[in-house]
């Protein structure tokens, strides 16, 4: 059996190049990790076939080197021990990798959970009461997929491509009557890019601290310009203290009306409409009532330009908007509009309360507040953005990376138009790990997430404790979770205290304090890492043998241990 190849693998001539390759691959891995994050390094190096191949070669080298030096010689006991222990450690690592469980569990105070998250990424599809999932490829580059299946409602889902590192890049789709424009708002301290999408009758607002930039429909803007820019002789410009002034916009007729002051019931539009200022009967809330031929509408213009329904919900479908002009002079407000002649007009109220109107001809506009400037980066008349994703550079912090999956949905086949050539309704949607996606064709709340697994018992957070280093506010000294394990129904519920260097062992699983997060209500959730590792005792045994072997080996070499045998050295 000991042929030429066996001798070669058993020799140092094989071992050293393999070990060098191993060291080089690992150093590349650490550099990639520092540039692109842990997950990137794991996928490209540590869990690549190449890397497993190197480890297998090391295993063979160690094993063959030992077999080559059989039969047993006392002088080489240390050598056998070292090489055996290396094989044992590798076997333990193999067991951990393929038989073990390594995940995280998020515990809350209000509800028990059994759900563990593992590391593999899955796409979860929900639709008409049924969930299906698909394991995403363990890759770092954009990958085309060829997988399709039917939803319960008969819609056909085709997975097109998967981007493990994606950034949102809107694509522009034609939408007549919509004006989209991208602006850069900045001063020395902050800068923000924002895209305003102005659909008819819906003002688009962007806020940056106390600064607001708002796109208005051209009809509303024209009214403003006519009503405010050139004060009629004898009247003064409106100032901060004026009574509410409004513009009423009717989306059906695309007309708008300037209402200088609402004091009592007054008619507009040739007595077809009446507007009045009223106070709510039960609660003394001010609102404005518009009497239309189809019935009265109630507006709370401080809250929304659209009228409220009977249940006090904003009615976005209503064609009427009542826009309160007073708010424009109260905060630092810039109004933009694209008039029918394609010119962009700007209006704002300066510090003295004067309305200023100007035309924007490109370039950088300096605003009168806090050194802010406004620059148009792109103009998309008659277009609206549709969310889309492009491959992106991986971010070093894994949690900041977006994963995106492109899914093509075809509506269920309609038996009525089964003849050839009938076009089925279809849509392209992106699933991400950021937020759930839905489609009008039957897909509901679908997303990308780590694989889930159920624990055999439930756990719940009793309370979470974080202690700071004495005398400081922001340097944690310890994180501690007090948890309840099991459920009262099963009759077995115990409590446990988990903190750094003090894990909980239960049912073969071990729970370690890993992290925490604070939700919107300020409540702490504790994040534990969960681990089941059948390779653990094997690795420990190997480790002890390795150290013992190393020490023994060197003691023999330097003559601290001698054998009374006549073996040749």
């Amino acid at each position: 059996m000991k042929n030429r190849y066996f001798k070669w693998i058993a020799s140092v001539r094989f071992a050293i190049p393999v070990l060098s390759l191993f060291a080089i691959a690992m150093s590349v891995g650490t550099v990639l990790e520092s540039l692109y994050g842990t997950e990137y390094a794991r996928r490209t190096v540590y869990q690549s076939w190449f890397f497993y191949g190197i480890q297998l070669s090391i295993l063979l080298s160690v094993l063959f080197a030992m077999i080559d030096r059989l039969p047993f010689k006392k002088r080489l006991s240390g050598f056998y021990l070292i090489h055996t222990s290396l094989i044992i450690i590798m076997a333990g690592a193999f067991m951990t990798r393929y038989l073990g469980i390594d995940g995280t569990i998020e515990l809350r105070e209000d509800a028990p959970t059994q759900k563990i998250r593992l590391s593999e990424d899955y796409a979860y599809f929900n639709g008409t009461g049924q969930q299906s999932s698909f394991q995403l490829p363990d890759t770092v580059s954009a990958t085309s997929l060829n997988h399709s299946f039917l939803l319960a409602n008969g819609a056909k889902l085709s997975l097109i491509k998967y981007l493990p590192y994606a950034k949102e890049t809107p694509t522009w789709v034609t939408s007549v009557g919509v004006w989209s424009s991208t602006w850069l708002i900045k001063n020395d301290r902050v800068s923000q890019e924002t895209t305003l999408v102005l659909a008819p009758g819906e003002p688009a607002l962007a806020e940056l601290g106390p600064l607001r930039v708002e796109a208005l429909p051209p009809q509303v803007f024209a009214i403003l310009e006519n009503g405010l820019a050139t004060p009629k002789p004898g009247t003064t410009s409106p100032s901060r203290s004026v009574k509410p002034q409004f513009v009423l916009f009717d989306n059906n007729t695309q007309k708008s009306f300037f209402i200088p002051e609402v004091t009592h019931r007054q008619s507009i539009l040739g007595s077809k409409f009446f507007i009045s200022r009223q106070i709510g009967k039960k609660a003394a809330v001010e609102f404005y009532q518009l009497d239309t031929p189809t019935g009265p509408l109630r507006f709370f213009p401080r809250f929304s330009a659209k009228p409220a329904t009977q249940h006090l919900q904003v009615d976005l479908t209503s064609p009427y908007s009542l826009i309160d002009l007073t708010k424009y002079s109260e905060s630092n407000h810039v109004l933009l509009s694209r008039l029918p002649d394609s010119s962009v007009h700007i209006a704002m109220v300066d510090k003295s309360g004067q309305w200023i109107f100007s035309q924007y001809n490109g370039g950088t506009l300096t605003l009168p507040w806090m050194g802010f400037t406004l620059t148009r980066l792109a103009d998309h008349p008659n277009q609206r953005p549709k969310s889309g994703y492009d491959a992106a550079q991986p971010n070093k912090e894994d949690s900041k990376n977006t994963k995106a999956l492109l899914v093509h949905i075809e509506a269920p086949a309609n038996p009525k138009d089964s003849q050839k050539g009938a076009v089925r309704d279809s849509e392209d949607v992106w699933l991400t790990n950021r937020e759930a996606t839905s489609s009008r064709l039957g897909l509901e709340e679908s997303f990308i997430s780590a694989k889930e697994m159920q624990l055999p018992f439930a756990m719940q957070l009793d309370h979470f404790k974080m202690e700071m280093v004495p005398g400081t506010m922001d340097r944690p000294a310890s994180y501690e979770s007090f948890v309840k394990v099991g459920s009262p129904e099963s009759g077995k519920q115990t409590t446990a205290h988990i903190y750094m260097n003090h894990p909980l062992k239960s049912d073969g699983y071990t729970f370690y304090q890993a992290s925490y997060l604070q939700d919107d209500q300020g409540k702490f959730h504790s994040i534990l890492s969960v681990n089941k590792d059948p390779g653990r005792p094997v690795k420990y045994l190997g480790s002890i043998l390795l150290i013992a072997g190393l020490i023994f080996h060197f003691l023999v070499i330097y003559g601290y241990i001698t054998f009374r045998s006549r073996e040749v050295t």
Partner: protein
């Protein structure tokens, strides 16, 4: 006036004395700020208890320029500042408390032209927003670590510390029921209570706390590691000059005592193993190099091994004393994951001791390479030293293998996994494999003689990467308690120097061989 002359001079002396006593601030004997007991009082600052005197020294050194009210001791100055008596101090001692700053750009920003090194607190605090804006602007431009930005950042920190100190919010004092209370509450006390409270802290301490407090005062006043530098250089010189062999031995013993004493003091101060940050690992490595070289020198009866030990120890002491931007000598509270004395003292000790072995082998290897370059070419010389290098590397490998495995066990115990390809773990494994490859290669005759020496010198670069590079260059991963900036230059220079030495030595070897044949 016709007074007899002795009476006249007596009156003169009396008047002068009255005048002096009246003017001299020391005359107020009951002022607690001037009480010598003050500097040993316990305070809570930077997250742990320490003597007021130690903190006050650091405060003065970090915040003020070199000649700010040097007439008054640091604890007294700090005490007055906290009691809101800054103006009084400046007036009484006719001196000014000025912030230090280094970069010309900082002065330009504040409208101070020309070369200066001081800024008045009023000016700096008045322009705080402007300074902060400029700092953020530099940060946004990606120039957050440039000279001007760092200097600005330091100045901003000085402003904050000074502001907190003058408002009495920088530290806390100990009260009767063993509670810490903010220093600002001292201002509401009357003079008698103030003195009692300020000077009564020491009496409230229990055994261990008191010992730690005394240890820290002692450590700061004798500064054992600064003391060790001179002794170490002396020992090095003595060990390379045969007539002074005995002196080298004396230096070795004294150094071992001083460093062991310094390390013990740090253990008493912090109450944990003395290897929790970069500074302490360098300190520990230097100490182990010394132990290793003294033992090997004795066993192999070779004083030159001592010389290498002194050299290695000098390098570590220089780093600790002068590379303060890279190595922070302050004792800091530990991050949660390190709060386990057992693992800290086994895993970290094993790993740093292995670094010490490899560092010692590296010093020896470079010594051999340089001697061969300067014409010391006997093969007996090479073999003798390569034997020492090999033993050191073998001991280092055992330590490193044990350290890596103990690290795995600790990681399993506190993070739930034995091995996770964390950069620090991975680089220590890389270093282990590098050394094991060299030792195996030597065994089969690949790396012998000069090549073995070159390899052992170069192999230390993998330790440098595992020790410093992961923190200063890669700066990622779970071992996030050692990260700081400023070490990248050190690593680059060391690596380049080592490559040049190896390259020149290799070329020289080739020339020698071709000229011989």
């Amino acid at each position: 006036m016709n007074l007899p002359s002795p009476a006249r001079s007596a009156l003169g002396i009396f008047l002068t004395l009255t005048l002096l006593l009246g003017l001299a601030p020391n005359a107020q004997a009951s002022d607690p700020c001037l009480n010598p007991e003050l500097s040993s009082q316990p305070i809570l600052a930077e997250g742990r208890a320490m003597p007021l005197g130690v903190y006050a020294q650091k405060f003065r050194k970090n915040v003020f320029s070199g000649n700010a009210c040097t007439e008054i001791s640091a604890p007294a100055l700090y005490c007055y500042l906290n009691l809101g008596k800054r103006a009084w101090v400046e007036k009484t001692y006719s001196c000014r408390l000025l912030f230090k700053a280094d970069h010309a750009a900082t002065f330009e920003l504040l409208g101070l032209p020309g070369r200066q090194s001081e800024i008045s607190p009023e000016l700096a605090m008045g322009q705080h927003d402007k300074l902060l804006d400029t700092y953020h602007a530099l940060e946004n431009k990606g120039a957050g670590t440039s000279g001007p930005a760092r200097d600005l950042g330091n100045l901003l920190q000085r402003i904050e510390r000074f502001d907190k100190a003058t408002r009495g919010q920088d530290w806390q004092y100990l009260t009767g029921n063993h509670e810490w209370r903010p220093a600002e509450t001292l201002r509401t006390l009357n003079d008698t209570d103030l003195e009692k409270t300020l000077l009564g802290g020491t009496a409230l301490l229990t055994g261990d706390e008191l010992r730690g407090m005394r240890a820290e005062s002692l450590y700061e006043s004798i500064k054992p590691f600064s003391l060790a530098i001179l002794l170490c250089i002396l020992g090095f010189l003595a060990s390379i000059s045969p007539p002074f062999g005995r002196l080298a031995g004396v230096c070795m013993v004294l150094l071992l005592i001083i460093e062991a004493f310094g390390i013990t003091l740090r253990v008493m101060i912090s109450g944990r193993a003395p290897i929790t940050n970069m500074f302490e690992t360098v300190m520990w490595v230097g100490f182990v190099i010394l132990i290793l070289s003294s033992l090997m020198g004795l066993r192999l009866k070779n004083k030159q091994i001592w010389a290498a030990g002194f050299a290695g120890n000098t390098i570590t002491l220089f780093m600790m004393t002068f590379a303060t931007g890279m190595l922070d000598g302050n004792i800091q509270p530990l991050v949660p994951v390190l709060r386990d004395n057992f693992w800290l003292s086994t895993h970290v000790t094993c790993v740093t001791s292995s670094y010490a072995c490899f560092a010692f082998a590296w010093v020896l290897a470079n010594y051999v390479l340089l001697r061969r370059l300067t014409g010391h070419r006997s093969s007996e010389f090479l073999d003798r030293w390569n034997y020492v290098i090999r033993i050191t590397m073998q001991v280092g490998s055992v330590f490193l293998a044990a350290g890596v495995i103990l690290g795995g066990v600790w990681a399993d115990y506190s993070w739930g996994r034995f091995w996770g390809w964390d950069p620090k773990e991975t680089w220590s494994l890389i270093a282990l494999i590098v050394y094991l490859s060299i030792l195996h290669g030597r065994y089969v005759g690949w790396f012998r003689g000069h090549l073995f020496t070159v390899m052992s010198a170069l192999a230390f670069l993998s330790i440098i990467m595992a020790w410093f590079g992961v923190n200063y260059i890669l700066a990622a991963g779970l071992h996030s308690y050692g990260f700081s900036s400023g070490g990248a230059a050190f690593i680059t220079i060391l690596t380049l120097t080592q490559l040049v030495i190896a390259g020149v030595s290799g070329l020289n070897e080739r020339r020698q061989i071709s000229s011989n044949s």
